[in-house]
Symmetry: D2
Subunit: 146 residues, 4 copies
Amino acid sequence: MTQTAGRPARPDFGFWCPITVRWGDMDALGHVNNAVYMTYLESARIAFFERWGWRFPGERTGVPVVVSQTFNYRQEVTYPAALEIGVTCTEVRRRSFVLTYGVFRQGTEVLMGDGTTILAWVDAAAGRAVAIPDDVRGLLTETGRR
Amino acid sequence: MTQTAGRPARPDFGFWCPITVRWGDMDALGHVNNAVYMTYLESARIAFFERWGWRFPGERTGVPVVVSQTFNYRQEVTYPAALEIGVTCTEVRRRSFVLTYGVFRQGTEVLMGDGTTILAWVDAAAGRAVAIPDDVRGLLTETGRR
Amino acid sequence: MTQTAGRPARPDFGFWCPITVRWGDMDALGHVNNAVYMTYLESARIAFFERWGWRFPGERTGVPVVVSQTFNYRQEVTYPAALEIGVTCTEVRRRSFVLTYGVFRQGTEVLMGDGTTILAWVDAAAGRAVAIPDDVRGLLTETGRR
Amino acid sequence: MTQTAGRPARPDFGFWCPITVRWGDMDALGHVNNAVYMTYLESARIAFFERWGWRFPGERTGVPVVVSQTFNYRQEVTYPAALEIGVTCTEVRRRSFVLTYGVFRQGTEVLMGDGTTILAWVDAAAGRAVAIPDDVRGLLTETGRR
């Protein structure tokens, strides 16, 4: 999926992270601030990885590093609100992969926003992108779009 | 420019906004958090509009509303750092327009990141996108890419 | 209670607000940032008031305005963590009142921090502190320390 | 100074840190959010320490750790605004010390808020407060209130 692609739907996602909107997430326009959605995606992304025992910062040699981010704001969110974020791996390349997110109002099919993150697989010691190891490739592929 | 387009350079920008990185902008990985760049772009975008007397929230009928966002993380930033963000309007459509940003280390050509925002022109009372008025179209075009 | 007073305990509180620590709440020292606790208290305070139908911003003439804040950091918190914040009104003066908070690890008596907020009762139109109305005084007193 | 003590004035401070208010520092009430002042104080506190070559995180054995915080909100701040924060050490105890801050509108005597932080001197390896070394005590005393 790209910035201009169609909207994701709930069946696209196999992993979910709940998010409780905080009053302080709103800005002077009285809705959740644009930047705060990136914090929501970060929470979902980290929960997605934690299933595999990954920690940030952690002890592993290979780590995913955010290379780029896209986000489509579909509907404004105001406090109070309970959201849930679907995460799936939509593409695995040689040295990078793509996560796609759908931000839904909890328990509904109402899409508040969606986006993608490209992450490089980086050798932490060498400080450069390297080929994704087979075991990681397997995890990412298994958790990809149904 | 799109997420995959080439890197912007300083001559692409006619408007600049300085940003002082705060210690608290860093996250547990010891560098400026991904989401905080969106706050930096927001500061630059609002300064870009303020030259025309616009305020947020303000009294105007037509307002720019963020529809989507892309960002490419080129180099990590650690505190302390002084940045400056170039902003330019790279496309004006019928009811929306595109701002492109370049985040540079202050006074240098070192690009830390770059991105784009698509903004719809919204009739605040009607709550829907409308045609960009001629005067706004003129301002956006004048300030576009050199 | 003041900054130097004893530690609050769970029985001191009759109202509770759960808080899920976000990864992004941590700073470069790898623990929840000092300032973020104020956001946690804000979430708890607003939930405390919302039981009475108050909204922020809202339509009421009289509004509570934060005048001062104290906080004692008892133990550092690292992600992941589930907290719960107890809130109680410990003092009602003529034109102001004091809320006291205890931040506990969820479901335990482990105190991570505690603090107080003094709030003035402000006439929103006049922009100045006025006497707390009897109905508000009643609500605050009922919800005070057991 | 304590929470209820008199207001600090510019001559009380020998160290100053400028702060540029960001649009995103405002909350849904249209003014700088209460919690954000703690981020401002943090920026000022870290700049205060950096004069001595201290870094956070750093390599030193002894580190200052925030134990408690007070803040008095004197006037609301709205974007755009340029502030400057005065910092001084108002008390040095055996294993802790007190920093006092005054948040002023830049270049004026208009006090927007003021507060104090108690910091313990902690042996990072041992993880407990220890006596403040003489050289640190000297630095803190020299930079104290005039």
